[in-house]
């Protein structure tokens, strides 16, 4: 059988990928002692207490909620602003069009680290340090360039007949955009939306610097703090439960929508 080695190779990488994830999930049901003494053992009985402890006492629930607010707000704002800019630049001719496009797109290639220090002070001087609004605005500001880049190309490819017909019917520019063009761009919006969602949901550096208030930690920040800080007293099972709580929703959503998500993300990368 010629294909056995191929299957073996594929399987091997599958195990390497899945095993640490499975291990975390299994460990979230074990006691601290089991985890410390026998990393490979199975839980003697499922200990849901680890999960409830992680959710409430270790504040994973709060972090989850914070992430939802910040990422939800940031994503909405990004999509709204990004699609408007992309559409205006793709479908209207005016002086400075290219300049504005490049001003946005160039920012994609700058490392965030370069902006980090001044950004901290900008956010602070606006009184937005450690607030939801501050993070939402910054998230949007840093996600808009790619959104513009991606949707600009997308709007260019859309046929113009429908829009022209709408204009002849007396629709305003805004109506044409929101009622006609935006619905037509739906596949592109979904793709870039998924891409942005994952990017923002997994963001760590920006909240680490701009969101110092433990009450408003987002999930990634909260988990890092749990694993690094003293505050969480040697509760490995709780930490694994926290990891699992943070991983599972995304993984499950992915398995359900996997085709869309993969298509969206890979399209985002090659465009």
């Amino acid at each position: 059988m010629k294909r056995v080695p191929i299957h073996l190779a594929m399987l091997a990488w599958g195990v390497v990928t899945a095993l640490p994830l499975l291990w975390a999930i299994v460990s979230s049901f074990k006691t601290d002692n089991d985890i410390l003494n026998d990393p490979w053992s199975l839980p003697t009985e499922p200990r849901w207490g680890n999960w409830s402890r992680a959710w409430s006492q270790a504040n994973i629930g709060r972090y989850f909620f914070n992430s939802l607010i910040v990422v939800g707000g940031g994503l909405l704002l990004t999509m709204l602003l990004g699609s408007m800019v992309a559409y205006a630049l793709a479908r209207y001719e005016f002086r400075g069009n290219r300049l504005i496009y490049y001003v946005f797109v160039a920012a994609m290639f700058f490392p965030v680290f370069l902006a980090l220090v001044p950004l901290f002070f900008v956010v602070e001087q606006l009184g937005l340090l450690g607030t939801y609004q501050g993070l939402i605005l910054v998230y949007a500001a840093y996600a808009v360039p790619f959104t513009v880049f991606f949707l600009h190309a997308f709007f260019k490819t859309l046929p113009s007949e429908v829009a022209e017909a709408a204009f002849l019917d007396g629709c305003s520019h805004g109506t044409v955009f929101f009622r006609v063009m935006l619905p037509m761009a739906r596949p592109g919006l979904v793709a870039v939306g998924i891409f942005n969602f994952l990017g923002l949901w997994n963001q760590y550096l920006l909240p680490l610097v701009l969101n110092p208030d433990p009450d408003r930690y987002v999930l990634a920040q909260g988990l890092a703090a749990l694993s690094v800080s003293q505050g969480y007293r040697s509760d490995w099972s709780g930490l694994f439960a926290g990891l699992t709580i943070a991983m599972l929703p995304v993984l499950i959503a992915y398995v359900v929508f996997q085709r869309h998500i993969r298509a969206g993300m890979t399209a985002g990368a090659v465009k």
């Binding site: 433990p214 009450d215 505050g231």
Partner: protein
């Protein structure tokens, strides 16, 4: 489990540093606000001074107390308030237990209406340096020289543990009073040692001999929080300080040339290199986080671990019943050490301040005099499981084994409690020392190389004109 997500119930090097950084980072805004207020000073309430009222408290003046409500709660502060109203029944007290001290009080400092006493602690605290710079803090010298609440014959400052006054002194002025006390040492399980017939070593030679016995018994003599080599610095630098005395510490903190090549430091580095060379450190320690190393120690996989006095609280849920951890002073390296064998490294934290623009400064100072009384400090020790910064406050109390051993160590040390300042003054130097010590105890640097590389870092720092220098 941690009862409050907001607070670290125990000060540690890292959390203190992190909080200091967080506070330092918000400095521009704060200082702008703090200095932005008007300068006219509202008259503070005052009454006649007397033997029973040495600070001149106006009996019916209202008092506002703001307490950081973290891991220690704020009941201890309320108890002291009870004592205050017992003495001044006409006074009304407005108590606030909050978490975000900075957020709540910054606008009040700007508006020149600060409270009368503030427990400025926690991650969201006000930046002390900014407050000091803006002259927002009352001098505490009057309080320090006043008779203590318990015994009029003893001055208030003489009831404090060594170093507490110095910890709160800025450019010669006492402005801050720290309420809790942290000591550093080497920890072990008392019952384990008793059952094996081991006694805690007084000298390093005894330590090395004991380590051989422990290793032969199938237990690793030492482990440490390898991910953060700074934990191993504490016993190493303590040992050096004991050998070289106050002069060695000063030379190090003041960045003097060749300070790190002093005999005391060299001998201490050699001592810990020996520990590593003889295989007395648990294999794998170097990659363990503090929680992992401490858990291994609690499981009896290693006999000794270095840490500060917060360890017992940190291990509350991990240590098995009857583990009864105790802290010992770092053993003496030589027979001719400048400090006695009982000397320890210790520092105070949990900062109380009396704002200079407060309406009732005398009341604020009087409140501190009461808070730092024996009665108040004892009830704090019992409920918080942490040593207050008051000498003899917990004498005669039945404490948990770890806290009791910390108290005994502090008492035994007496005046010989010391602390290095370079860690908070020069964070980059602290990093260089941590890295070097990590290399030393993993046998990748010799004691001489250890001293060389730290000295190089210290020299570079001393030459760096962009770094503000401090001296002690």
């Amino acid at each position: 489990m941690n009862p409050s997500p907001f607070a670290q119930p125990y000060p540690t090097r890292r959390t203190v540093l992190r909080a200091a950084v967080a506070a330092g980072a918000t400095l521009p805004l704060l200082s702008a606000c703090v200095t932005g207020g008007k300068d006219d000073k509202p008259a503070s309430a005052a009454g006649a001074k007397s033997a029973t009222n040495p600070l001149g408290v106006k009996e019916d003046a209202a008092l506002e107390v703001v307490i950081f409500k973290g891991g220690y709660g704020d009941d201890y502060a309320k108890k002291a308030e009870g004592l205050y109203t017992q003495k001044y029944p006409k006074a009304t007290i407005d108590h606030k237990g909050i978490q975000k001290v900075g957020e709540a009080l910054q606008p009040r400092f700007v508006a020149n209406t600060p409270p009368d006493v503030v427990d400025n602690t926690g991650a969201g605290r006000l930046d002390l340096a900014a407050l000091v710079g803006a002259k927002q803090l009352s001098s505490l010298s009057e309080l320090l020289d006043a008779p203590s609440f318990d015994d009029p014959a003893v001055k208030f400052k003489d009831t404090l543990l060594p170093g507490v006054v110095e910890d709160g002194t800025f450019d010669g002025a006492p402005l801050v009073l720290n309420f809790t006390y942290t000591a550093w040492g080497i920890w072990y399980s008392k019952p384990l040692f008793a059952s094996k017939g081991w006694t805690y070593p007084k000298t390093w030679d005894e330590m090395i001999a004991l380590c051989a016995t422990i290793k032969a018994a199938g237990i690793a003599p030492w482990t440490y929080q390898g991910k953060y080599p700074e934990y191993m610095n504490d016993p190493l630098l303590s040992m050096a300080a004991k050998t070289g005395g106050a002069d060695l510490i000063k030379a190090v903190d003041n960045l003097q040339p060749n300070a790190w090549k002093a005999d005391g430091l060299k001998a201490a580095a050699e001592a810990f290199a020996e520990l590593a060379a003889k295989g007395y450190i648990m294999t794998g320690s170097e990659a363990l986080s503090h929680t992992e190393a401490q858990a291994a120690w609690c499981q009896g996989k290693a006999a000794f671990i270095p840490s500060g006095s917060w360890l017992e609280a940190e291990q509350k849920d991990v240590a098995p019943k009857g583990f009864d951890m105790v802290m010992g002073a770092v053993p003496a390296r030589t027979g001719s050490d400048k400090f006695g064998a009982a000397a320890i490294q210790a520092a105070s934290s949990e900062s109380f301040i009396v704002p200079s623009k407060a309406k009732n400064i005398a009341g604020g100072l009087e409140y501190l005099r009461i808070l730092f009384s024996k009665q108040s400090a004892r009830s704090f020790a019992e409920s918080a499981g942490t040593l207050p910064a008051i000498a003899g406050a917990t004498d005669g109390l039945t404490l948990s084994s770890g806290l009791g051993s910390t108290r005994d160590a502090v008492n035994a040390a007496g005046k010989e409690a010391f602390t290095y300042r370079f860690r908070t003054w020069y964070a980059p130097l602290a990093k260089a020392v941590d890295d070097a010590t990590g290399e030393l105890i993993n046998k990748r640097a010799t004691p001489a190389e250890w001293a060389d590389r730290i000295q190089k870092a210290a020299d570079a720092l001393a030459k760096d004109s962009s770094v503000k220098k401090y001296t002690r």
